[in-house]
Amino acid sequence: MNKTIERFSTSQRVLHWCVTVSFFTLLLSGLGLFSRLFHGYFSLFGGGETAIIVHKIAGILFFGSSLCLFLAMRRDTTSFDSGDLTWFKSAGGYLTREEMTFDVGKFNPGQKIFSIFTAAATVILGITGAIIWAPLHYPRFIAQFSLMLHGLMFVCAIMFVLVHIYLGTIGNPGTLESMLWGNVRKNWARHHHPRWYREKVKGEG
């Protein structure tokens, strides 16, 4: 009997890595624009002017791929139920060594919030980014506000992403496989996403 179960399809994984690569390209090319403290990162791109060009291209790719990824997952990430409430009440079991299992579906509410935040951040960063791209076409207060909001959303995004990476890798061993070759161990699925596992097995049976 197969010991693993498919969690993410090939197209979902490819899309996710497009988002990842464009995100880190945006991060590295944008740090120098966020503050002069990080001016050194411009040298990765041969200077500030090329870093801006790279940032714009990566921005378009990120905007498109991130929204596609959200739309592809939206049915599983945008509705909450009573199982999610118990998860929230005990912070997903992340504050104790005790083994806790919650009756959650394909995504737990923390992942759902990350998904919704990412979609909102993508839209806000995209719109403000487009304004900063050609600031002279807009009233000054709109360009100023966009610069502020772009920086604020970046700061929020980087903190969300740090937690996302931690929980997807060393924080939950066995999770990263779902984004690499797509399958997870059945025992992992039974513990982390019991309801999704039951539905999945029923579907297979």
Binding site: E49, I52, M148, F154, M159
Partner: protein, 265 residues
């Protein structure tokens, strides 16, 4: 930034509007010295020409008309240009070191070679001064740094026939304005303006903001979001490491169920 400016060496630029005839010699001299092409302009029913600063015009005489209750009209002329702020918004946001810089005399200069065309300075300027032309590089008054290096006064001050524009040590210019019983515009705001306006009325009557300041969004970005963001980044890293060594990862063993009993990490 402003604490680096020494009062005794900071150079300034006096604009005494009460002496101004509105002849625009300063505009012409500036364009001539800085080799700026003349532009086609249109008559908008005012002597002000063109209506605003352009990438090819670093200073401009504004013609401000106002009438009091009795119908007496006052016509004010104001030389508008980069104010060379002590605490300059453009320097605060410029991501390319050396593209915008402050000289030891306190003048805000720029280097087109180092400008990366981000246009942040346009948004951050409290007075909406920097312009971008077809070369996509910053352009504004730099008080003729090349002339200063050769011991000459800026072209506009040299050309002014009425001594409306005077160049010198800022503290001396400020003292001179006060001795004449006039007020100095924004003497302390923004670290003190390098351009010393001698005012006989309210700033608003000259078309200037009463209390100029760095735009709020720019202040929030640079002085609130940036430091808190850096703190948040390292705080998140710290929290993650702390979580890993205290609570630890959620290991799901493969030691029971239908998985065959092989133990995985």
């Amino acid at each position: 930034m402003s604490e680096m400016l020494s009062g005794s060496t900071r150079l300034g630029f006096l604009v005494d509007s009460s002496r101004c005839l509105g002849c625009r010699s300063c505009q012409v001299a500036c364009q001539q010295w800085n080799k700026l092409e003349a532009e086609q302009t249109t008559n908008k029913g005012s002597f002000q020409n063109p209506q605003e600063l352009t990438p090819l015009l670093y200073n401009l005489i504004r013609f401000e008309e106002s009438a009091d209750a009795a119908g007496n009209v006052t016509w004010r002329f104001l030389s508008r240009r980069c104010m060379h702020c002590g605490d300059a918004g453009c320097l605060k946001v410029c991501p390319s070191p050396g593209a915008l810089f402050r000289t030891k005399d306190g003048i805000v200069g720029y280097d087109k070679e180092k400008c990366i065309s981000c246009k942040y300075c346009v948004s951050a300027c409290p007075f909406n001064i920097p312009r971008y032309g077809s070369d996509e590089k910053v352009a504004k008054c730099n008080l003729c740094l090349d002339r200063l290096a050769a011991g000459m006064a800026p072209a506009c001050a040299k050309a002014c026939p009425t001594e409306t524009l005077k160049f010198g040590v800022r503290s001396e210019l400020v003292a001179k304005v006060k001795a004449a019983g006039k007020t100095v515009y924004a003497e302390t705001e923004l670290g003190g303006l390098g351009v010393v306006y001698a005012m006989e009325g309210k700033p608003e009557e000259y078309g200037l903001p009463a209390k100029p300041s760095i735009p709020l969004s720019i202040f929030l970005w640079k002085d609130v979001i940036k430091p808190l963001g850096i703190l948040g980044f390292w705080g998140s890293i710290g929290a993650i490491l702390l979580h890993y060594v205290t609570v630890g990862p959620k290991r799901i063993e493969d030691d029971h169920g239908d998985t065959g009993g092989t133990s995985h990490e």
